[in-house]
Symmetry: C2
Subunit: 208 residues, 2 copies
């Protein structure tokens, strides 16, 4: 598989969204310059990125949107389905359940889990919620490969271990907890403190 730096990878979904928008407006071609202007990137950056999709543009016209979209989807892995489960159906968890973008990227949240009985045995945004004590068994039955972790920080490690016991291969960790899991489990942090640090630094930089 092609290896990408995280930088280009972070831009690809933005191209994709813009292209889908343009396509829905009936456009057939998009130029790199146009994408750059919309997203606030340098046009040379866009041109280099688009070159990596393998789709050839035509001078003066731009790139064919209907070829670019599937090419980018494939690059960002949105072309095959990943079964996921959600641990913790609090405010953040239920916000994630109602986010329509996951389906577009090939993520199916097949089940949610919560410790609170009043949040269990109901269906939220199309996803059934089960008691957390059934997690390992359900993950295994669903053959889920991705665990989304939105439990309170002090329960993160325990719930993560239950996910792993059920066969989860990757965990998307929205808690600030530092997880200690086997080497082979991929953990991605989604850390507001991190994003905020980047933001504050950019603000300071701009004011300087």
């Amino acid at each position: 598989m092609t290896k990408f730096g995280t930088n280009i990878l972070q831009r690809l979904p933005l191209y994709l969204r813009t292209l889908q928008q343009l396509q829905s407006e009936g456009k057939a071609y998009a130029s790199g310059a146009q994408l750059a202007a919309t997203l606030g990137f340098e046009s040379i950056v866009v041109r280099k990125d688009l070159a990596r999709t393998g789709v050839r543009g035509t001078p003066r016209l731009g790139f064919p949107i209907d070829r670019l979209i599937p090419a980018i989807e494939r690059l960002i892995g949105a072309d095959d389905e990943t079964v996921a489960v959600l641990g913790g159906v609090g405010k953040l968890g239920s916000a994630l359940l109602s986010y329509p973008g996951f389906r577009k990227q090939g993520i199916l949240i097949a089940a949610g889990f919560d410790a609170a009985p009043e949040r269990c045995n109901l269906i939220l945004s199309g996803t059934p919620i089960f008691p957390v004590h059934t997690l390992t068994e359900t993950v295994s039955r669903l053959n889920a490969k991705l665990g989304i972790l939105t439990v309170p920080a002090d329960q993160a490690q325990r719930v993560a271990e239950q996910m792993v016991a059920g066969g989860i291969r990757a965990i998307w960790n929205f808690t600030p907890a530092q997880l200690d899991l086997p080497e082979e489990i991929l953990v991605q942090r989604e850390d507001l403190a991190v994003s905020l640090a980047v933001l504050l630094h950019r603000i300071k930089e701009r004011n300087a």
Copy 2:
């Protein structure tokens, strides 16, 4: 001000959190190797990063935690207060309001706004919520500099403009909407589709 790449900037808050943890356990020194092991980084990376704080470590002992913490706080801009407002108090918005980490990083969410009357004129996690039509005036009165945007995508542009009219200088955009604002307004995207693309690619890479 010192300029940082986003990479080191993304690691600094993680060092900070780990160091605070160690300090609360009564430790006085932390070695780069120790931080690296905890966070899953290479130790040379940590050493280089810590060098940029200006704090000197002592061989065999490590770095003095009580000097490292304020140094990192200063680097990530957590040492002075930024007044923020929150646009949109839905699931995601109220999840953000209850996140304690913001205060630690010097962010004060002074007010929230929502279009739904039943969500207004109450206090959520210590933050008063007002009707969205008072946004511009309230932002101006509070002298808020950061707007956190968690409204539905189709209202993002309008609410962002109201924030800017009130004097907001930077917008933290949690919606997938592409904002079109004056040059001088700093916009940071917080885009789940982007994070998910990175995650999916890492999963594929690992399976390859």
